[in-house]
Symmetry: C2
Subunit: 500 residues, 2 copies
């Protein structure tokens, strides 16, 4: 079975492997009774027909070979949009206007470079495709002004290019999925330690392009902090940025491409810092009387240590609904058999920690089950300095109003602050209605010292707030850099940077 066929089930209408589709737990089924939802099945993939492809595949075939250029409906549909709830609702309703005209699968940096050179000359918009897991509209460019849309799927760039065990660095091709990277590195005694909820499908290049952060970020850091070097293809040519463990040789240009979401170039390989695979990791649960008390304890660990590998504090409602515990649940993972005692907390033992571990990637499956059952569910996240967090937490809750059950946790901590991750569950609403709620919440985030995204990225959904967060002059500076690298603006147009 080819990888393309293997991916067929993954990238349309739902998350991941249908074999892992999830039944709703009884607690959530009873919740749905309260919400008074009615089943809302998705339109079957086979019933959908995208508009005819506008792109001549010939020149693309000359670059990557005919076997790697796809214009069939199913492949195009599977590369259509990302995995936000509005994306899913549109897809489930049979809306297919975002399908690319053609899907091209290069296998080398040079092929990616040649594709970009050609697409730039032909004024074809390009959407880079890694795992396809964007939840912020990062795969939904505004391409009306272009002759067509080419999805460049990087899955064939899937190799370990180099591993330097002395320096503890490895160069990985950008299309490699996270589980493949972990498997290969584990065999050499190393780990990246990067386990976001999208782990099963997301790619190394996608992590870099979106500044991903994983569930073990307390111990291993954000993905951008692991990146030692990047190789990037742009319509204007190729470059490699990052050369040494640290440098004072000018601005850190890695940081221009990290978080650029495919708008400045296509990342084709990433050199990452490795850590030795720990002999074991234990997961324990602790309970604090309140979220506020848990927050103080988490801050003490983040600022003064000892810092666990995973540090995840749920607020009272999330603790009750997801874990049936009182107070605020803290999950702590450490590379030691016994956890440190936590002042003010009640130890709940390893069972609840292991339960969290088993379910760590199941959120998106649960979402599909909830959507099937006619409920609305979506997540959003932010980060702020510690002194602003309590006020930010309240302001976001207020902005959500009482339409939703609102769950929150802190799962990424720093010396100076932390992230807040919200899950909203409620009766089904339209994407337009959600868009209004999300706008109010995004306003509240900016008004209370939060960033518009700690780890989901900007895409198209956060773009207006991103502009407000960094300011027009900063956006214009990015535009100037983009014009040099992408003179015809073909790369993911309208994502991250507003069209002029």
């Amino acid at each position: 079975m080819s990888h393309m066929a293997e991916r067929a089930e993954h990238l349309w209408g739902g998350w991941g492997d249908p074999a892992n589709a999830m039944a709703l737990p009884p607690s959530i089924q009873s919740l749905l009774g309260v919400l008074n939802t009615a089943p809302a099945p998705a339109t079957p993939l086979a019933d959908l027909r995208p508009a005819p492809s506008r792109v001549d595949p010939g020149p693309l075939r000359d670059i990557v070979g005919a076997a790697h250029v796809h214009t069939d409906d199913a492949t195009r549909l599977r590369r259509s949009g990302g995995k936000s709830t509005p994306d899913l609702l549109r897809q489930r309703a049979g809306e297919v206007s975002s399908a690319p005209d053609v899907v091209v699968c290069p296998s080398t940096h040079d092929e990616v470079q040649a594709l970009l050179t050609f697409c730039s000359s032909a004024r074809l918009a390009v959407v880079p495709h890694g795992g396809g897991t964007s939840v912020v509209g990062g795969l939904s460019p505004q391409a009306d002004r272009y002759a067509g849309v080419v999805a460049i799927d990087l899955w064939r760039l899937n190799s370990l290019v180099d591993l330097d065990p002395v320096s503890r660095i490895a160069t990985l091709s950008a299309g490699m999925r996270a589980p493949d990277a972990e498997t290969i590195l584990n065999q050499q005694g190393f780990t990246l330690g990067h386990f976001p909820q999208s782990f099963e499908y997301a790619t190394i290049g996608g992590f870099a392009a979106t500044r991903s952060s994983g569930q073990a970020s307390a111990g291993y850091g954000r993905f951008d902090a692991m990146v030692v070097a990047l190789t990037v293809a742009t319509p204007a040519g190729s470059l490699t940025v990052g050369r040494a463990p640290a440098s004072a040789a000018g601005p850190d240009l890695r940081q221009l491409f990290l978080g650029s979401e495919g708008t400045l170039g296509i990342i084709t390989s990433v050199t990452v810092r490795l850590r030795p695979l720990p002999p074991e990791t234990t997961y324990h649960g602790w309970s604090f009387p309140t979220f506020d008390e848990g927050l103080d304890a988490v801050r003490a660990l983040a600022q003064d240590g000892p810092l666990p590998t995973v540090l995840r504090l749920s607020d009272e409602l999330e603790s009750t609904l997801q874990y049936s515990t009182d107070g605020a649940l803290l999950i702590v993972a450490t590379p030691h058999p016994h956890p440190h005692p936590l002042p003010g907390a009640t130890g709940l033992g390893p069972e609840i920690g292991e339960k969290w571990l088993r379910g760590r990637y199941s959120g998106p499956y649960l979402r599909d089950a909830l959507l099937d059952a006619g409920a609305f569910v979506e997540t959003l996240e932010t980060a702020a300095f510690w002194s602003r967090l309590p006020q930010l937490y309240r302001a976001v809750r207020d902005a959500f109003g009482d339409t939703f059950l609102l769950l929150c946790h802190i799962s990424h901590v720093y010396e100076t602050g932390a992230s807040l991750y919200f899950t909203a569950v409620g009766p089904m609403i339209s994407p337009a209605h959600w868009s209004e709620v999300k706008a109010a919440v995004s306003d509240a985030i900016l008004a209370n010292g939060g960033t518009i995204s700690h780890h989901h990225g900007v895409g198209t959904d956060h773009r207006d707030w991103y502009v407000r967060e960094v300011g027009e002059l900063a956006i214009d500076t990015l535009r100037a850099a983009k014009r040099r690298l992408d003179p015809h603006g073909i790369l993911n147009p309208g994502v991250l940077i507003p069209l002029p």
Copy 2:
């Protein structure tokens, strides 16, 4: 005594406070006998006359007040160039062509902004002046094409703007010198932990603009890693970058201004991450049989911990000449009364550690004494991944040839690699001769995986190698950003980014 008068002695012809001028230790005096040097006193400041100022001070006085605009010879000479050995040799020989036409001392961000707006409209080149301690020609712009050169000295931007003890962050004005910052923060129980050799004179804004790294970087990190946010004035307007402890909202624009060396804007305030002031720090010496064995031990500490605050390994010649010890000396500072045992090393106790601590800022004073005595002395540095370091060390030594005594230490370590810092001492040579040696060494650095600078920066001296290190497309991308922020190219022209 005004600060301007106070600075009079600091910024011409030698380093720091003349009261701290250093006598050469006997060991070095006997070395000079071997080198056969003859005293070479500097031209007195009073004998020098820069060309008449070409700039009308009137509009500048309107912005900052007449008392803060200086066109007298002495003030202009003191803001002339930096503190590299070639800078000092030119100054000592009476060469004054790099004196700015006027020195302006704003006291607020808005005044800096107004100065840049005016200078851009009048096509006046601008050199931002912090501590004036650049050792890479960062204060020697190529300004022939401009109507004049305005030095903007930031010393009056010298306040603690904000301190958030919960989030452990503080906002400091960019012109604040490091000792003032430490004093103010220490009073609140905090420290930056940033102690570069330029500590006594360098400023917060200068640290940011040059990606400084201090002697305690093992424990506290590089300065760029401490920066949470920056406020910057540019000819095109002002911006603030950095908002949260971490963010996935696009490229990290702090990293565009960090290391920009005054070419993209003038940093007017910096928000930094703080650490609690440790109750005590102990300094111990350890001796390894060889530099190679010390290097392996230092790598083990950097990769697997425990990581001391200071970790500084001298090679055999530096250990002998500077510390009269056999083998390779390792200085270790820890915030504990007792150091960890180091396998393979002989403990030398605290005396030698405290000797290093007392002399930690004395290098530049020693250089002045050597230059007075007719010897040549200069330093340069690089960084590379661990696997490349032994080869890089040998290649740099080979490129230096045998004209100089060459001392080396490692003082900045990372999980993936470390820096190498070289000191060359020998008979007096001309700046042109040194330039040839430095070119050969810089070629060797690039050919062996090193970055052209780990913490000194690029300036004008490293510019050609910087272009080779990052490539023309990266340089052109920076140029595009600069054109947006500085349309007339007035900011430190020719520093970092080659003139088009």
